[in-house]
Symmetry: C2
Subunit: 466 residues, 2 copies
């Protein structure tokens, strides 16, 4: 008979204490394969507990497979063969606690930040409260696989007005961030495709492709964007480009080259992934129409994000598919639930419907424009031969230096003095071609700090080249 | 000289009207490659507009590459070769407007719904407002790639208490839904792996694998879960299982089989993906510990979701990685931004910290238990030989019928009478083995409707088998 010490005052229920004791004895082989357990009544009397308590413990042991019951015969121990060799592998290193502190610079000319200081927080919060009040239970249901229809209607309107794109809400697919959208595109196009990205370019695309074991070609740029010579003689059939404001060079691909790229896609029956991540921010003249708006043959997948123009914490990006791929998505990929929370989809819809989004873009455009002018003033006040490129659009610009400038030294010197600034050569992956230039993001730094940072750079002699 | 009619009263600015006219003429070849445009001053005088207006229009045409300027010579038309053949492909079908109405049944015994009626909406809204008030600008920054640390601390505590799992927050990765988590796992393990899923089972896993062009084996089950014989003689090295409450059969894999599966993974140096989607809902006895809690050798990837126990609109799922994969993730996959909005991560953290999550689970357990009892009462009041399986855990049960029952007929008859109920055979993918059984989900139907639905089934003679 089992004799266990059961503690009636413990937080652990008696049945659970009994279960734990018997389980331990089975795993210890104190009670062995085939052994019969005492009947419920006998054990209850022995331990001075209720029959129900024993029964609950036995039921749990049965559920987990430690014992089994034979009607009219009783309870028996199962054959539990623990695999001897299963012990902690010593090849696995010791866990390290995540380091959550961030090492920030005092002045950051980063390209991957967004000005959250100027986010219309009170309006957003107000709309969130309205959604909470009005939507109630609708918030708990999943949205359509492609995203909330009302949101896609607003995105289509916005694309028409700002990017010259004619599309139906049915062509739009909303997803949790641009990286997720790229994942969907890869799956939608199939893995037999051959991809190319711009070099220099946005690293992550190639990283995602490599996570799929897809080799990526890196195509060089000329002064008008992707080099047609390299494109035409490549084996690829999917091209990722940012023609409206190439990252990091800032090149705006002219209309002729755009038609050439479209022609390539048409003749090769390939696809162009047009990444239009920052081109609503055009500071002079009207926006340059998207490549997608020139495409009548259905070879452009347009993608954009709210991370750059609203807030990076909102994981909301989207793409516009040509109809052929819309049908493929509807047939084969609707099993994927939408990845964006309904709550934020409703809030963003209201934000767009109410005209707040347009106002925000216009406001940020003025703020960024004034920062660009501050940087230009800082540069022109210097006795240096720095020239500025790509400053009329987007969220970064390029400063080009004379051929013999030691940019890596410049960058490390600046960093040592609390200024984060990046060398354009960091964005070259293969076929690295040394060009002395800096990439300047101005979304995370205000006018005052821009002036302070440039004064430091000046004092360090970093901007005096002549 | 260009003679365009420009409308000063139009909403479209004069410069844009001028730009549109010249652009159209270039595309029409009315003005041709190499043609010189009138000087800004001349055109301004001719059209009676300001020089600045002409300059703005010309600048836009330059940005888009329609024209170019030669210093001291003037503005010239670029060579725009529109590819003739780019016209709408006629193989693409005509777009159809999305149908947004849902065809619902009056009574639904679905397994993919969640009881949103009982969601603690006012508490959730209160916490959301607190987050809005307290967090402010933190809400706009991205969370750590693995998810908010504070949330992962809460998940680790919960897993310890409810599922017997010992893990560190560093091992947990939060993502936008289980399908996204599966995507991450596939990329993390690499595509050279061979996968198997349970048959019958949860379809989506195989669909995702197929989107990666990965062939999936379908392993049969015996009464204790995955068939060891088939597992051992298969070529596979990654196994997706739901040992705590198999979907759809409801099988709870006993401890012996669990150790056998672990031993298989250890010897094959493979991985088990333990999908623990509904096992916090245990109605008798304490929860059955997760397979992960028995694993000392680092071969189990545990995954779970808040979609089933909270709300499907919250796209928040997570996985617990063995340390070896944690290091791989940290090295190779941290470039992926987290896919869940910061705002909802903060709210969920508060919900868990405040004990609301635990209370909600306990409350829902009681509600679901009462529904199970209602179904049992409905069945036992009938003169039928239906037996119930898998009703002690999870969010669905199985009704088994005598061998000769025509289940497809039963299901279609029920559907014609407004009752959604599903045939277990729908979940078999290959090696379809006919077994007369129904899968009953009770998350989307209350006690009153359960009784009404069973009365209808009874009247239809569908539950009288003898």
């Amino acid at each position: 008979m089992f004799t266990y010490i059961l503690d009636a005052k413990s937080k652990t229920p008696i049945y659970e204490q009994l279960y734990n004791n018997i389980k331990r004895d089975i795993l210890n082989k104190t009670i062995q394969n085939g052994d019969r357990l005492p009947s419920k009544r006998k054990l209850a009397t022995h331990l001075k507990i209720s029959v129900l308590t024993v029964e609950t413990a036995y039921e749990q042991l049965i559920s987990e497979g430690y014992i089994y019951s034979v009607p009219k015969k009783g309870y028996f121990v199962n054959n539990i063969q623990k695999s001897v060799s299963i012990t902690k592998s010593d090849t696995v290193p010791i866990p390290i606690r995540e380091n959550l502190t961030r090492s920030d610079f005092k002045y950051e000319f980063k390209t991957n930040t967004v000005d959250t200081e100027n986010f219309p927080f009170s309006i957003w919060a107000k709309l969130m409260r309205e959604v909470l009040r009005d939507k109630d239970k609708e918030l708990l249901n999943k949205s359509e696989p492609k995203g909330l229809y009302a949101l896609r209607v607003e995105i289509a309107k916005y694309l028409k007005a700002y990017r010259g794109i004619n599309c139906q809400p049915e062509q739009i697919i909303v997803g949790a961030g641009s990286e997720y959208i790229i994942n969907l595109i890869i799956q939608l196009l199939g893995e037999d495709k051959k991809y190319a990205v711009e070099n220099p370019g946005y690293h992550k695309i190639a990283k995602i492709l490599s996570a799929y074991n897809i080799n990526t070609e890196y195509l060089p740029l000329d002064s008008e964007g992707i080099s047609m010579e390299h494109l035409i003689y490549s084996e690829i059939n999917v091209l990722h480009v940012s023609p409206s404001h190439q990252f990091p060079t800032g090149i705006i691909t002219p209309i002729k080259r755009r038609y050439e790229i479209l022609k390539w896609a048409y003749e090769k029956n390939g696809y162009i992934i047009e990444d239009d991540y920052d081109s609503e921010f055009r500071y002079n003249g009207k926006p340059i129409p998207a490549l997608q708006s020139l495409d009548n043959s259905g070879h452009v997948i347009y993608m954009n994000t709210f991370a750059k123009n609203l807030a990076p914490s909102l994981r909301i990006s989207y793409m516009v598919l040509p109809w052929e791929l819309v049908y493929k998505f509807d047939n084969d990929f609707k099993f994927y639930s939408n990845t964006v929370s309904c709550f934020e989809q409703y809030t963003l819809t209201k934000f767009m419907e109410g005209g707040y989004f347009e106002r925000h873009i216009n406001r940020m455009r003025n703020i960024y424009k004034s920062r660009i002018n501050t940087i230009k003033d800082c540069i022109s006040s210097l006795n240096s031969s720095v020239s500025i490129k790509g400053e009329n659009i987007g969220l970064h610009m390029v400063l080009e230096f004379p051929q013999n400038t030691d940019i890596p030294n410049f960058v490390s010197n600046a960093k040592n003095n609390g200024i984060y600034i990046s060398d354009i050569n960091e964005y070259y992956v293969k076929g690295r071609h040394y060009c002395p230039a800096l990439v300047i993001g101005y979304t995370g730094i205000n006018n005052e700090d821009i002036i302070k940072a440039f004064n430091i750079l000046k004092k360090l002699g970093l901007l005096e080249n002549e």
